[in-house]
Symmetry: C3
Subunit: 139 residues, 3 copies
């Protein structure tokens, strides 16, 4: 068995949900060597998250933003930790609801995602900047 | 170390939360060979999820359905992505909140779950059909 | 490659969100031997969870408690599974939203977390007691 690990930086993205499948996978061409394994994708931040969801219709990503803004409202009277503005504490909460890592199976040298599955960066800050990701391939 | 991987199809289930621990584990008898390891369980869909929760009282699974229907309401006026009906976009959102994979420890040839823990299929669609799962055992 | 696994018990904590990074990591000094790998941290309970979030300002943990109590209200009229009181069913739901495991990358003998990331125990019960955790290091 082998372990391959890389740390990468994503291009900065505006607030919202973004499909990053290609931006991730092109960084680990070693996947083609793995018959069976897993790829662990980890974001090193507490105000952005990672998830897997629909990879075709951009309205799904917009609806995610709509829903999460309603479910975790930017009501500063609710929170103590508001120094960086109304998107500060809500970003921490959203990132823990969605999660800081996804792990996907690798099969016959390819990511074994469903037809409609893609990897999302969930950028919750108004100005999040570039985000660091650690990729660990084990096979 | 060894990696064993299988892709399986679950029997189609109605909308709601379903205990699938046995349906999963009977497909990987190789767990008995693993002294220490992990089992990664991944669902290849974007409108159903996987989680771990209480394995004894069926009312817990019904209460999950009640809560998630309230927390992610089927209000089509909220969403753009509604072509397949009111359970379309909400299913995408619920699946990302609950997650698309669970990873459990394997110890001395057995899944090392707590006494009350079971694996749930979270079926969010009214007619989701059979669901594909990839199981990766690493030890 | 190697797999090291341990089961530990956390000191009992009051309801709320608690930073447990040090309490976890001091139990796996073998991390120092791992050039590249992952550490899987799994909680064997259905009424407490694990997540990663901000490790510096205690008000973030208090705001998590505030938000989750609002998002998953202790309204017993909503639920069937209420035998153990108003914090029973809500604890099950909160734990599945936040998740039962976190997996972190290990790099050059150290956990490769972001500057502001720490591991949280999410204790949802009023009297949860000591919690059991399984740690699996693979490298």
């Amino acid at each position: 068995m082998a372990t391959i690990q890389k740390e990468i930086s994503l291009v900065a993205k505006p607030r919202g949900f973004h499909l990053i499948t290609d931006e991730i996978l092109e960084k680990v061409p070693e996947i083609s060597q793995a018959k069976y394994g897993i790829l662990h994708i980890f974001i090193k931040h507490t105000s952005a998250g990672l998830t897997i969801n629909e990879n075709a219709d951009p309205s799904v990503r917009r609806d995610f933003e709509t829903h999460f803004n309603r479910m975790v409202p930017e009501d500063m009277s609710m929170f103590e930790h508001t120094l960086e503005g109304p998107d500060d504490m809500t970003s921490h909460i959203k990132s823990s609801i969605l999660g800081h890592s996804v792990t996907i199976p690798i099969t016959n040298g390819r990511p074994n995602l469903g037809t409609w599955q893609g990897i999302y960066l969930c950028e919750h800050r108004n100005r999040g900047g570039s985000r660091k990701i650690v990729l660990t391939l084990m096979y």
